[in-house]
């Protein structure tokens, strides 16, 4: 009797589970539609902000496709390297993917913080490394050519102007330094001026560096020696000082965010902003000049340039899931995902040629043609373990020159003397 009852119970349970399986949409197609099951949770260490929010949205697709959960540990950009370094030094295994700036690679590679990707890339030719900007990829390799990361995101400087105000005042888009100074002086005399990021930080460093690059120079030469006293760097610094005098009052203390606000609130009719923020100017809920802004390369006396400020994904040593981490890295840097990134966050710029060639994206991101032009001859950030010390010294130096009205050439000479032994 007991045996019969047990048999009925087992049969009933089996029937019930079959019915439930049938109701769930059926058969082998079910896992593909709703995602495979996985116990793995990957953690990304990256900087916070609108780009991180956009990434969290896009990552839901990855979880749906693979079943792998992804947690984004978004940190303030100022603390990111410190957090990654401490985690790597203590080998905590907290992170599976790191968002890394090119100038951090020398330290990360020499300290053995990162997993080499060369073998994985050979085994996955569909990653199509050739599609990336090769200069950007070269920054992620060590001296023997081992690849330690893939480029994901790119930001550069863009000249932004209010088309309506320019037309009303009979001004045209400046093409060179003289034009830019003239139009800035014109608006300064009318009570506004150009919006510039003159605060103590990297922004003005990068602008001067790209001007110097346009003139055939750079902060360091091909051998890695510091060249702050060369003519292209000095001319660019002197020009930056002149232009700052024609800036909107307050620019000396502004970082990129405040500069962008002056443009998007209509306070400044022209300015130099950065691609990661220019999207705010086209958002009607945050901008009083949406649809009225025009974009052009930053005017220069040399060739068009812009800083190749990239963010790249790498896998840290100590990850508990190297296979899945590479799967996520490959997915995040794929052309399809990068297009989604741009659609989700218009300030996003890819380093894949196939993505940038998609003209349909320019409708929502009208600065993309400028980025394509910049990518033909970009300015590389100083790639040395002493690079951060240089940018700190120059950041404070330029800010001091703008605030005190001191001689930019003397400041460059001082920084050269102070740091040349480290390069």
């Amino acid at each position: 009797m007991r045996k019969t009852r047990t048999s009925i119970a087992v049969a009933g349970a089996t029937l019930l589970s079959l019915v439930m399986a049938g109701c769930s949409g059926g058969g082998a197609a079910a896992p593909a539609a709703t995602g495979q099951k996985s116990n793995v949770t990957l953690t990304i260490s990256r900087f916070s902000g609108p780009a991180a929010d956009a990434e969290v949205k896009v990552l839901k697709d990855f979880t749906n496709q693979t079943g792998i959960q992804v947690r984004v540990d978004a940190t303030d950009i100022a603390q990111l390297q410190q957090k990654q370094t401490l985690a790597a030094q203590n080998k905590t295994g907290d992170y599976d993917l790191l968002y890394v700036k090119p100038d951090w690679y020398p330290l990360y590679i020499s300290s053995n913080y990162l997993l080499p990707l060369t073998d994985d890339l050979k085994a996955n030719p569909d990653v199509n490394v050739e599609d990336f900007n090769q200069l950007a990829v070269s920054l992620l390799k060590n001296s023997d050519g081992t690849v330690f990361g893939l480029p994901d995101y790119f930001a550069t400087q863009v000249f932004v102007y209010n088309k309506q105000v320019f037309a009303e005042n009979g001004q045209t888009v400046p093409k060179n330094w003289a034009d830019l100074l003239a139009v800035s002086t014109y608006f300064k005399n009318k009570g506004t001026g150009i919006a510039l990021p003159g605060s103590n930080g990297n922004a003005m460093n990068d602008i001067v560096d790209q001007w110097a690059n346009g003139l055939g120079g750079n902060y360091v030469d091909d051998k890695g020696k510091l060249t702050l006293t060369t003519k292209p760097v000095q001319d660019s610094a002197v020009y930056a000082t002149k232009l700052m005098k024609q800036s909107l009052t307050g620019s000396v203390g502004w970082a990129w965010d405040q500069t962008q606000k002056a443009i998007q609130f209509g306070t400044a009719p022209l300015g130099i902003s950065i691609t990661g923020l220019v999207g705010l100017g086209e958002d009607p809920s945050q901008s009083t000049v949406a649809g009225k802004l025009g974009y052009a390369p930053v005017p220069s006396d040399g060739h068009v340039s812009g800083t190749l400020s990239t963010w790249n994904y790498s896998i840290p040593q100590g990850t508990k899931h190297p296979k899945e981490a590479f799967q996520l890295l490959k997915w995040l840097t794929s052309a399809e995902t990068q297009k989604k990134d741009i659609q989700t966050f218009p300030g996003w710029v890819s380093l894949r040629a196939s993505v940038n060639a998609d003209t349909s994206l320019s409708a929502s991101s009208p600065w993309l043609p400028v980025c394509n032009e910049v990518l033909k001859n970009p300015t590389l950030l100083v790639r040395s373990t002493s690079g951060p010390a240089l940018t700190t010294a120059l950041g404070a130096g330029f800010n001091g020159v703008f605030a005190n009205g001191t001689d930019p050439i003397a400041m460059l000479q001082q920084v050269q003397t102070q740091l040349e032994g480290k390069f």
């Binding site: 410190q82 370094t85 030094q89 020499s110 103590n200 002056a262 951060p388 010390a389 404070a396 001091g400």
Partner: protein, 297 residues
């Protein structure tokens, strides 16, 4: 006798056993990080494969580095001005609030203490926009009296440090108001009445009665606010990032920048240790004296 001695020994052992976890905890959370910092300050690139023992080189570097000297001077000025203004304003407002009816005094005290609830990094960001020459409240208010053009704010090296001090005072004077208000509750009202009957004015009452009677409270405030101001980081970092130039660079921001931006961890640690030693020299005697007074009582 032997039984009693054994009981005492057992009690002592029990006491030591009970105190041991707390002592161990203090050693772990207080001394180990300090030992780690001191050790790191004796190395170049501590913790890395390329690390090198350099003995006191990082300390020698501190005393020959013009930026370190500038940061030290800025920190000293910041602490002195901050402490003086915080104490003057805090004691003044607390004494003034005592003259109001209790209900009004309590409401006003609650209002005055609101900035204390704001995190220092947010205070820095709030004041960054308050001092903005295009959108800021400070310039708007000054423009009403025609002073906006002559005020340098945080973009002028000669006014930047005092602007940061003012933001800090806005955030931390409420702490002084609260503590002094608590201290004033133990001062007998009869003393004030007697002084008034003797014809003493408000200033005489303040300096002859109030200040001496709350002197211990003031010592505690000087210790807490003084050490806080000397180690200031958040407000400076958010408001000026040490600029313009290095006009507002303090020892803490300089140490942070050196250790974590310039990746010079050994030198950064040395700067932190020098900061700690300076704090011990400046505030150590005050701490010792206040403890000695308590013991004498």
């Amino acid at each position: 006798m032997t039984r009693r001695r054994s009981l005492i020994r057992r009690q002592t052992l029990l006491g030591l056993l009970l105190v041991a976890p707390a002592v161990l905890f203090i050693i772990v959370v207080t001394f180990i990080p300090i030992v780690y910092a001191i050790t790191s300050s004796l190395y170049e690139n501590p913790g890395l494969d390329t690390s090198k023992f350099v003995l006191l080189d990082n300390y020698t570097r501190f005393f020959t580095d013009p930026l370190a000297f500038r940061s030290l001077i800025n920190t000293a000025i910041y602490t002195a001005v901050n402490l003086a203004l915080c104490l003057a304003l805090g004691v003044g407002v607390a004494v003034l609030l005592r003259t109001f009816r209790p209900r009004v005094g309590n409401v006003l005290r609650a209002l005055f203490t609101m900035p204390l609830l704001v995190s220092p990094i947010v205070v820095g960001l709030i004041w960054r926009y308050m001092y903005d020459e295009q959108f800021g409240f400070v310039y708007w208010a000054l423009s009403l009296v025609g002073l906006d053009k002559s005020f340098g704010g945080v973009t002028n090296p000669s006014t930047a440090l005092i602007c940061v001090v003012l933001a800090d005072i806005w955030a931390h004077t409420p702490f002084v108001i609260l503590v002094v208000s608590a201290g004033l509750t133990v001062v007998p009202e009869e003393l004030y009445e007697a002084a008034r009957l003797d014809g003493a004015g408000p200033l005489r009452i303040l300096f002859r009665i109030t200040v001496p009677l709350i002197s211990k409270v003031l010592v505690v405030i000087i210790l807490i606010r003084g050490t806080d101001a000397f180690r200031v980081f958040d407000i400076v970092f958010a408001l000026t990032n040490g600029g313009p130039g290095n006009a507002t660079s303090t020892l803490s921001t300089f140490a942070y920048q050196t250790a974590f931006i310039n990746n010079d961890l050994g030198y950064g640690m040395a700067i932190s240790i020098v900061t700690m030693i300076a704090l011990i020299i400046l505030f150590g005697p005050l701490l010792r004296n206040s403890a000695r007074e308590r013991k004498a009582q």
